[in-house]
Symmetry: C2
Subunit: 388 residues, 2 copies
């Protein structure tokens, strides 16, 4: 926890709740009659409302991007390394918006929140939402905030899919699209890992077909296993070797089932911590959103056609040892954008940290990202620039 707030932090922040009563039609055919989004913002919206940045979160992220909720907060928001005064996403220049996506478990309408029709948690009755559904709900949030056009929509991993979808669905409403460590669709291997996670959760006896809230139960084992599998795929083989190697907990083998190697204790710890903090139904829903995402599917399997209507400038960033969303997947996005004649630049960052790299302030990554944000700032219409 911070004894004092660092000078380059956005400081103490509080989430806001936004209620929406206009029904939202979802890809699954159902609709949400009303819903609520939990939102955090940092920095100041300029008079033109033209300096706003939307940051979309990944599987386990939320609205709390940066800063602290209290002086007792053990750690800052999940992208504090990139967001703050003078940081890459500079809150002296930009008005930054983060939200917990629909179906999340950090305050927005989702499985762990009350269904207005019953007063009890939605549980498994919360509809399965997709990346386009999220983008639609984010567009309504932009309307509410009076933001007609984002200076940039930015996201890593599942967040990058949302950024890409913004460019497809609302081409007039963003000037820059920054897609980090993402893919235009998951591979079979990725779906397979997600399915292991789902099986671990749904077969946990504490899952009760998703109605565990009423039973005062939590499918902790399932969530722990899901997170352990996930965590392995977020790190690289090389990165794990560097960080853990074959280091033993006690220096020698004890020939029993207790953790013998440091990597085992680490994963158990990560898994257990996660299982105490995250909602199982949300995990299922987020992995389904990942699996289903495939913007090319409705354009004859052509990603080039899917992005043809986009108007913004694109930046695509990948990391050399990311095998969950490998550079190859990023290059597919870049190739489609080039094929469609879009303005795109691409950077592949050398890093041993695997998929996790997108959350780490690697110097070269921050340089590239910073140059990109300089472009975003330069493209803020001049009347707004002058008014600052």
């Amino acid at each position: 926890m911070p004894t004092s707030i660092p000078a380059d932090s956005v400081g103490l922040v509080q989430p806001q709740q936004f209620q929406f009563d206009q029904p939202l039609e979802l890809a699954c055919g159902r609709q949400l009659d009303s819903y609520s989004l939990t939102v955090e913002t940092y920095g100041t919206l300029n008079a033109d409302r033209s300096n706003a940045i939307l940051v979309c979160h990944a599987l386990s992220g939320n609205h709390h991007l940066a800063g602290y909720h209290s002086m007792d907060d053990p750690k800052p928001g999940w992208w504090d390394s990139a967001i703050g005064p003078g940081k890459v996403i500079d809150t002296n220049r930009f008005f930054v918006v983060g939200l917990n996506n629909l179906g999340g478990c950090h305050g927005s309408s989702g499985p762990n929140q009350p269904n207005p029709e019953t007063g009890a948690p939605y549980g498994p009755d919360f509809p399965i939402v997709t990346v386009p559904d999220w983008v639609q709900s984010q567009a309504r949030l932009a309307d509410r905030l009076g933001i007609q056009q984002w200076a940039a929509v930015i996201g890593g991993s599942l967040g990058g899919m949302q950024a890409l979808q913004w460019a497809i669905d609302y081409p007039q409403r963003l000037r820059h699209c920054i897609i980090i460590a993402a893919a235009a669709r998951l591979s079979a291997q990725n779906i397979a890992f997600n399915e292991v996670a789902r099986q671990a959760i749904t077969r946990d006896p504490q899952f009760h077909d998703g109605h565990y809230y009423a039973k005062q139960a939590i499918p902790k084992t399932g969530l722990m296993l899901a997170r352990m599998v996930g965590h392995i795929t977020y790190l690289s083989d090389d990165g794990m070797r560097e960080k853990f190697g074959r280091d033993m907990k006690s220096g020698k083998l004890s020939f029993d089932l207790s953790p013998q190697f440091e990597i085992e204790s680490y994963l158990q710890y990560q898994g257990e911590r996660f299982s105490a903090a995250f909602d199982a139904n949300t995990y299922l829903l987020m992995t389904r959103a990942l699996d289903y995402y495939d913007p090319a599917a409705s354009f004859g399997d052509s990603l080039s056609e899917a992005v043809r209507g986009a108007q913004c400038k694109f930046k695509v960033i990948s990391f050399t040892t990311d095998w969950r969303f490998s550079p190859e997947r990023s290059r597919e996005i870049v190739d489609a954008l080039i094929d469609a004649g879009k303005a795109v630049s691409y950077a592949e960052i050398d890093s041993p940290q695997g998929h996790d790299a997108f959350l780490i302030p690697i110097p070269r990554y921050m340089e590239v990202f910073g140059a990109c944000m300089g472009q975003v700032a330069a493209d803020i219409p001049s009347s707004a620039q002058e008014s600052r």
Copy 2:
């Protein structure tokens, strides 16, 4: 099941049981006062007893390498593609020996077999055995069969670790060592995947601390999850893409938790089949043997020093898309052997099938392996050759 036995099959075969009453000292410090090994052999041992081949099995393998146990057998032994009259491991030339390793669940002494002291299944009281322990027990089996020196010891994956250990522990007792899709030690990532499997099994409420036999219970969910994770790591990303891609079960999304993609159904099926056929305590034990294997550890972390005493010729084979036991790991073995001045040749086979490739009769693999077995045959001492 075979309506008729193929001409190049070893045909109908039966396992034999070998009882050993000389205590076996184990690496963990415990000993087995007596134990039993389940064994299958194919072909004929020559007068010199010099044409014997030992095939060591991997994590889920056993003694049943080739042929059928009955005309109702749904499929042949696990390496039937490589073993038989006229096949790569030619049973017209060689006497082939397969065994279920100690701690296995297919008849040899192990967790699901009676502890002679109590009459009840050993369960978790069966000692954790290591690759060197297995090799020691295999050497005693060789003694019993009157085989002073193997023409070759061959193994893939965990089996390859046993072959390597033979060359280290019993340099006089093998002429050729064939190490396929293996590693001289697991990486942190490999250990991590094994730990997910162990957590899935040991946290299954049906596991009962390993004493599930007495409860008429089976930790099926844990075993299923373990196998699903394992299976993903045995295939390659490319191979999965080729085989499954994003093919849907029903042609379109149904927006529920049932399997939507072919890869999901496939993994569930594989996992469920495995959980009905394999013993959970054995799975735990086999993964520990994998994790612990590290012959360099007792030679100042130098694999070159570990293999310095070896006398046999080595063949090391890897597969391009194998990421569980990558070509890089095989090259570490090759480099150590070269450094130690040993006779070694190495082949990296181009294949999309990942780790599973070692079980598949890929033409180039079979050519390379066949040439190698020609060498093994040529090195059978001439008196024996003449007597054939």
